[in-house]
Structure formats: C-alpha cells, structure tokens
Symmetry: C2
Subunit: 203 residues, 2 copies
DNA sequence: CTTTTTTTGTGATTTTAATAACTTAAATTT
DNA sequence: AAATTTAAGTTATTAAAATCACAAAAAAAG
C-alpha cells in the first residue's frame, strides 16, 4: 500500500499548493513545487502518479485540480474532527492554531483533568476528562491529540483507544504502547531539537 | 557518516534511558529498551555499535554508562544554548517547556517583532527582533527555533543565517530555503495531524 | 569444570526509498 | 505542418534502512 512518508508528503504538497493558489498561481511544474516543498521533482511526479494523479505534459499541473485530486485521495474535502487532551502550553498552542481550520481540520474540544485550566482563554470548548468518553462517542471522533505530561500519557492513550480513537498525535515525551491497528504519530520536541543542535554543530 | 534518523534515535534512546534511570533501573536489555522506545532490539544494538558504544553480553547495558556514552557522541554533557523567534502560542509552549531544561537544553532568549507580546508571562527573557543580531553574536548561539507566521518565516530564516545560526527547528508551515551547510528540521503540525487523520480512517 | 542459557555484536538478506535515466506527449517555434 | 523544446510519466539503478540470522561471550546452572 502507501507508506506513511508518501502520505505525509502528499499533505505537504497540498499545503504548499494552497499557498501557491492563494498568491495567484494557476499551473505549477513538478520542478517548481519541488523547490517550494523541498523534495525532488521526480519524487513529486512519482508520488502523484502512484496515487493515480495526472498532470499535463509540457504544461505541468493545474493547481486547483491537483488540490482536489489530492483531497480525493486523502478525503480532505469534508471537515475532520479531532479532540485534544491536555490543556497545558502545548495544548494551548494547538487549540488556538489558525492553520488547522484553514486546512479543514476542526479541533472541536479540549479535555483536562485540572479544572482550573478550564477557565483559561481557549478558542475551543474545554471539558473535564471525565466527559471524554461521552463526547467521543456522541461526536464520532476517531483522532486525538495528546499533550498531557509524560507520566499520564499512556493512561490517557489507553482510555482514548477504549473509547474508539484510532489515530493519535502524541506530544508527550514518551513512546505509547498501542495495538497494531492504532496509528500513533509521536512528536518529541526535545529529541527533535536535540538533533538540530547536534547536526548544527557538526556542520 | 551518520544519518539524521540514526542521530534522532540516539536522542530518543537517551531520553528513555534517563526515564528508566530515574525510576531505579540499573541495567537494560536492548530488547526492553526497544519496547520502551518503539524500535526493534536489533536496531538499537546496531545503532549503538555503529557509534562504538558497547554493552555487556548477557547483562545488557549499564544505563548510567550508556547515557554517558551517548552523550559522548552527541555532546550533551555541556548545556546547549538555543534562541526562539516568534512568541505566539507555539513560542509560548516552547519557552515554558520544562522538558528542555531537564535535558540540558537552554532556550536562553525569545524574540518577537510585536512589543505587546514582550509583556506576556514567559519563563525566558524576550527581546525585540532588532536585538537578535547582537544577542546571537554575543552569546555564541548556533541553533534557533522559528515559530513565526508562515509569511515572515523565510525572512527570519535568512536573517538568522546571516547572523551565524547553523541549525533551525522550524514550526512555520513553510519550507525554508537555505544553503547546503545549514541544517533545518521542519515540523509542520498541520501535515503531521493530517496524516494521522488519514491513517486513522484507513485503519 | 562442563554445559546450558541468554544477550550482545555483526554479517547477510530483504525491503524500502531515493535518484537517475529514459520515453512520451503536448505545446511552441520555425 | 514539421521540427524542436519542454515537462510529465515510467522504468531502471542505486543507496539506505530495516530485518533476519547466527556467532561469540558472559553468566548461570548442573
């Protein structure tokens, strides 16, 4: 089937294409898109062709059509609902991010165990963790973002899965143990930054 | 030489090992560490051996020694100074992150073009962008985190490089164009989340 | 002291991803 | 209208990453 990397690139193409469209471009060459996204032109053509997406020889790709085609693969045409667990600083950054809405992703609710945080200024409604199960089931949510402290991450993860969550974006600095059929994307800010520091020094 | 992936894994091992040490473990088997980090035991042994780090047959790895050995490779024994540009919500999450300090990374200052933000509650000193050049040069900083809006990201990036920055962790949803010798690690929250949504649905 | 067990370390194999090279079709030029 | 140019689409090649398989060493058991 398709690898995680391919899918991720497809989304990066899409985000970039939306940008190009917004500044008035109508057509784009694989070469130019590659420059913008930071991958090779061949890679782009190969990715698109693998998903059955066609351009036009000599003219390149019609941007609006290409976005639609990518969305046909990724299903981005209808809005996607996501919940957020853990309303600390990372949670706040996610909750108040304008970018998601622009790309048809709706973070529809946040949850936190600490009721004090419920009073902060978030752009989304925030509920106590005890309401999570009910909310997930009532709203047909399949994706969650975890931004709780490391110590409670596994517990929250297990709960989410038992409530029906199938995909998790995890910011807690801990590897989550999950069944095979659950997809987890870990973003460990600390190791990401560490590797930059290392590679910056050795360059 | 060593790939970005290898280095990143090394940092993930290290973070996990620190956790194991803190809860009282003294020795660890590649198998167990693999379970924790989420990679195979062979992968771990191969990575470590590639960096010349040795365990002990039948006993596994002495955790404290292993952390030191990894730090010998990655240079984590002395604190690493980093600056942050863009004090929005993502910037706040970075500035107030406890995890970095725990891993010997110091985000020593933040910068923002908007003076209003300078008054918010950050755990780090925040200066106007105009002071960036002076600060970078006076403090021997080589790594920066970009969390400005997409539109100003490239401009900020070019400035940072001209002031001597060699490594960038970029949260702006835009691919940065940089010279060969500059290392950039892009984290696009939107495409990361998009891919989770997609893979959650197709599972 | 010998045998067995267990876990590291590494060489071989497989799989996957990236790059390069080439073919084809559409548009432009002559 | 034929020739040329250009960029998509595809096949072939190379490189890299991950997995598998096994040898060697250390510890434990008999």
């Amino acid at each position: 089937m398709h690898s995680k990397h391919e899918i991720l690139r497809l989304f990066r193409y899409r985000i970039c294409l939306i940008g190009l469209k917004n500044i008035g471009f109508e057509y784009v060459y694989s070469y130019y898109l590659g420059e913008e996204v930071g991958v090779s032109a061949e890679q782009i053509r190969k990715d698109l062709s693998k998903f059955g997406i066609k351009g036009k020889k000599k003219s390149g790709y019609h941007i609006e059509q290409l976005i639609k085609d990518i969305e046909g693969v990724t299903g981005k045409d209808e809005p996607q609902n996501v919940i957020l667990v853990g309303m600390g600083n990372v949670g706040l950054a996610i909750a108040n991010n304008y970018d998601f809405v622009k790309h048809n992703i709706n973070v529809i609710a946040g949850f936190d165990i600490n009721p004090i945080k419920l009073k902060k200024k978030y752009k989304i409604p925030v509920f106590p963790t005890s309401k999570m199960e009910e909310f997930i089931k009532n709203n047909n949510v399949f994706t969650a973002i975890i931004s709780v402290p490391a110590l409670s991450a596994q517990e929250v993860c297990d709960q989410l899965i038992s409530y029906g969550i199938k995909g998790i974006l995890n910011f807690a600095p801990r590897n989550l143990k999950t069944p095979e059929n659950i997809f987890v994307n870990n973003i460990n800010l600390c190791s990401e930054l560490s590797s930059v520091i290392y590679l910056a020094r050795s360059s």
